[in-house]
Subunit: 384 residues, 4 copies
């Protein structure tokens, strides 16, 4: 009821604030027998962590996870998994000055209205720091999807300010392309279109010099997901994915497939037509037809009627510019008096590079959840 | 788990197909003592029903609801409310020819992949007919919000094709404007900008003559919602609202506030600054400050950190063009053989006018749910 | 949150009062392709219905169910199933006199305290009439268990007053024995020990003549349930079964296996020892060992650590004497004034015979739920 | 779905095994502003902990909780609370010999059937060690109940073997009586009837010398709970309390009020009659009548129709004798071969003394949950 859990068959529950002892996640519903180590968690935690490049916040946190339960001899046991990521760089003094001030664009005011009580340490529970717990859980979801389906979830930066990447085949983008440039150095912007990516980096640097921040958009692609995931009414796959992405801080819009572009489309131009797969030979094949049907195009973003179609699932999320700014901004105190606030430079000038692993985690969690739900519905007969 | 329920404190569960006996909704969590009659439900069911104007489908269904439980002597009892809306115009023969064919853009293929079993009667459970149940439940949610808060949820058509309405003050649009033109005749397009609305109607008529369909976008506004609704992590108000809208058929995108426009914004230009309300006189007021603080602007669409700010909540949804077309479209049979399909003219050439009450219903349900959740959290002390 | 749903993977949601238009149940999570007709529902609804024999209430209700959704061409579709059972014999005049009086032993007073609002028509939502919805849902659960596992859930009357049946092998009792005597006439008391059953009937008749009522206990047995159902912590199978039985009206106690008798036992005498199954030949068998292990005895009632062991699941529930009595009883009015009340003879003098199908339904629902949950956990790998 | 969460408005989620790094609980739904420190948790953790007296296990674990999130400056923040209790005395070598053996009476076999994977370290997730997490959460629930209602939950040992305590007024038993004898020394058996308690202790000592164990029963009483908690159908208060108690290890039976004794009762003798409270003077009182009505007797155990009546809530749970025995017991290996097992003396000869805080915790959690649910339903109007 207080919204600290997400998912049903694969269910995560989190706790933790930006400046408390640490962040915790309990993952419930992971089947037994999946290999899992701290190293699996570290891959994405490192992609999310502050201080990873000169275009992210310079705060430095190691974000070392400890598996407290649910793993035995390197495998999941089928029981609930608990992971703790301690906060190391708490520096709560940095936040002392905001104790009685509502930061513009932040949840300070709305949380105060909600609880009548304020944890003013850097946003408390509403800090993006809570996403460490999600990223750790997402790593488990990715592991499950890879193990069960060979599926993958990969995100990349699509837009920063008015600079938009050209990625003609989102379904073909690789993790290698997102993380590394062609020359093997880190792709700190996480945009697979390298030329555009370097312009994005230049823009972020310019914005930072101006003590400002800039928005953007990310694309997240899931491949290897079979047709049939999602429920026909409220728990449509598109609905759960949208909730997952909107639950992340700073997301103001989500679309899939052609998204908002559909408003100007005619039905005859928008529908993706069903065709037999190239590999299908109806004259000789004994394989059930459904596995041999696909759509010619993928304007539908891999979901029809809210259920996966077997095509790549392609989502986009709009991310607002960081609200905390080194620039001085007007605001009011808790008492309603006018004042100003400025944040001393340890914030991301653009959220997008670190947003990628968070978005991937949430998408992976939804897909793992619906995969397990579908297995229960589909395989009820053969189970003994 | 099979996704036929939505909400927590205000929770709806539905059943029903397009061509079965009827659609049913059970609403759980409505407090006792709220006046409720069949007439309250009919207002929105009539706004949603087919055959309401020449720009909607010409199918004709009366959509008369029967309250089966939960209301006694004109008031809610506090127990679960059940409503049945029988299907009257079933004409299943219309659908006989699609029994073995996957309609482009529909869920036929994905449902078959999911269940290995197909209810081919007009989409079965995935038909937009199931939204009758949601609209009935939404009418109860609206009643509760009005009763408890004087709050309102009003939607309107923002865009059809490339034609975009000019509505400078979405928070001031009235139900009267959405339903009636200045001359008192019905506003069949549900766009409060009358001049643009008549161009939208002309476009829809043109598209229909071409046996085609057209997409669009809707705006939904909630006013009178106090600050503090929503949870800080997964059940952010924006996340639950997005899930609600994405759970409706044909929605491909959702945004709030400046939405996707945030990608090109700088933080200094995007943040809405906190200010005392105009009515506030700090020197004399004993009223707690929080009720006297607001934001100067509302680019944030009424939610900060996923929690309501007291400003109008403003959402936008992109709706794809109707997939069913009188035009002949290529597709395949269940056996994988190429064929064509055309739909005999009883579908909406543009979904938007009838989408409005559906979208309002889902927004109202989320707000009623979060309102009741908040009451439980907030009023736990004084309750005896 | 208002408690009108039960279960997770197999989930029922109900609405309905004793004297409203009818009772409704939505069953969510039933897999596609299970044969289901109204006749399947009628078997247990007839066993539950009033007026079935001279030792039950003489109210007469046909209890004819209508399937409103979720079944197509005689099979479940995988989507939510809705069933409506209209109330026919409402006679609300019978209840007019209790409008301002709290009936002893009933929920009148506690519901008034809860809602500040009273549906005084025969108990409203707290009437045992709501169990029609459960029995209909239970019939579907039984169908699923039989279809998937060949499993059965059978209950019988174990005790009425001080008269206790002798049933040495509860796991061998058949539905035929519960419903019919050896001579083929109906077994109206539903006790498989015929001699004791006729003494129970005599006691009930005597009690009725005295305008009184009598309590008792029921045994419910599930056979054919494999080892492995239930979760290790909160959703232990024993816990969900107990909640299910305690959620029925008039149940004051539940135990399984040796139950309260365990208090006087020593561990050495209480433990059931594991042994190879009689049929197992370790030298030749390639079958995995776990399917070939059982316990020598079944004092544990088919559950160890809250998880099914493969042995028969054996539960017992204590049912209080009917609270409504033809005898005059003292009570107070809503205003707190002393008064008396008597009920005019249309109540069961002993609840047990009609309790059996209700208890079976709830046990079947829990088992179907845990079966589907287990399938999701167990069969996640092979599912494509 | 995997059953590691419990409750709705007050919701706990746990993880942890007997021999892993530790046990974790996340408590979701605690309102903001309730004072909470580690000391509050220690009271009950110390009552639960091993090694507390010579009649409990001699394992010694300090069970020091760490609050990882959700508390700021000594008060709850309204966000999720996480607590970690590390395992200190893991000694997994003690369990090495049971790796391939199914211990009689334990969940070893059923977990293996469930997961196809075994965490053989002392029962893993099914060990009673997981109740540390529940007891910590229960301490928070007690705090909330005391803070909001002045309510209390107190349990005591009612029976050990055939020795039954005489406690004529369960609703008057104090925590002092349960924890201390009249002479101020610890009441290690937790029975408020001192004379009977010392006979219980003697029996436990005798049983231990015989390398055996003994069962018993506990009574749990909640006072100060107002009328109106619980839902009328599935989430009856009695149903949720029963689930809570049955979810504890070793519980084979639960009853409330007269419980199984109801089977032999007549309605006329069983009903508790409503009367005005002694303090009520109808001629002068303007207080609403409902607060001035009670029942003359409390055979109904404080719940009518599954909803609290304002009387003391009185429950009883039967607890089986410890399954682990120093005595040699026959069993089989995972391969199905006959073997024997004996446990080396670090188990409780009788579970009852340490069961008390566990049972209190679960009862308090259910009551806190229903209290918060009720507040949401009741106070929806006045909340702004």
């Amino acid at each position: 009821m207080a919204g600290n859990s997400f998912g049903q068959a694969f269910r995560i529950t989190t706790a933790g604030e930006s400046h408390g002892p640490g962040n915790v996640v309990i993952v419930d519903g992971v089947p037994a027998g999946i290999p899992l180590t701290v190293d699996d968690l570290l891959i994405d935690l490192n992609r999310r962590r502050p201080g990873q490049s000169h275009i992210t916040t310079q705060r430095d946190e190691a974000d070392l996870p400890e598996i407290l339960a649910g793993v035995f001899e390197g495998q999941t046991t089928g029981t609930s998994i608990a992971i703790l990521i301690r906060n190391t760089d708490q520096r709560s003094k940095d936040y002392g000055n905001i104790q009685d001030v509502y930061r513009p664009g932040h949840a300070d005011f709305t949380l105060d209205a909600k609880y009548g009580f304020r944890d003013y340490r850097g946003g408390g529970r509403s800090s993006a720091r809570e996403t460490t717990a999600r990223v750790a859980a997402g790593a488990i979801a990715k592991k499950l999807l890879a193990h069960a389906l060979g599926a993958q979830v990969i995100g990349y930066v699509h837009q920063v300010g008015s600079i938009v990447a050209e990625v003609p085949h989102p379904e073909s983008v690789t993790l290698q392309q997102v993380e590394y440039l062609a020359d093997g150095t880190p792709n700190i912007i996480r945009c697979p279109d390298e030329a555009t990516g370097s312009r994005m980096i230049a823009l972020i640097e310019e914005v930072r010099k101006q003590q400002d921040s800039i928005g953007g958009a990310a694309t997240i692609v899931a491949t290897g997901i079979p047709a049939g995931l999602g429920e026909p009414v409220f728990d449509k796959l598109k609905a759960d994915l949208a909730k997952a992405l909107f639950s992340l801080p700073a997301v103001l819009g989500v679309e899939y497939g052609i998204g908002f572009g559909c408003a100007t489309m005619r039905g005859s131009a928008n529908n993706d037509y069903f065709v037999p797969k190239d590999s299908f030979d109806a004259s000789t094949s004994a394989i059930p037809a459904i596995d041999n049907i696909t759509t010619q195009t993928n304007r539908h973003g891999g979901m029809l009627g809210g259920i996966s179609s077997g095509q790549a699932i392609i989502l986009r999320a709009a991310v607002k510019p960081t609200s905390s700014l080194p620039l001085e901004q007007p605001t009011v105190t808790r008492a309603g008096e006018a004042t100003t606030i400025r944040t001393k430079g340890r914030h991301d000038p653009c959220l997008l590079p670190r947003f990628i692993p968070m978005a991937e985690a949430m998408v992976a969690i939804v897909l793992a959840d619906h995969w397990l739900r579908w297995c229960g519905q589909k395989n009820w007969k053969s189970a003994t």
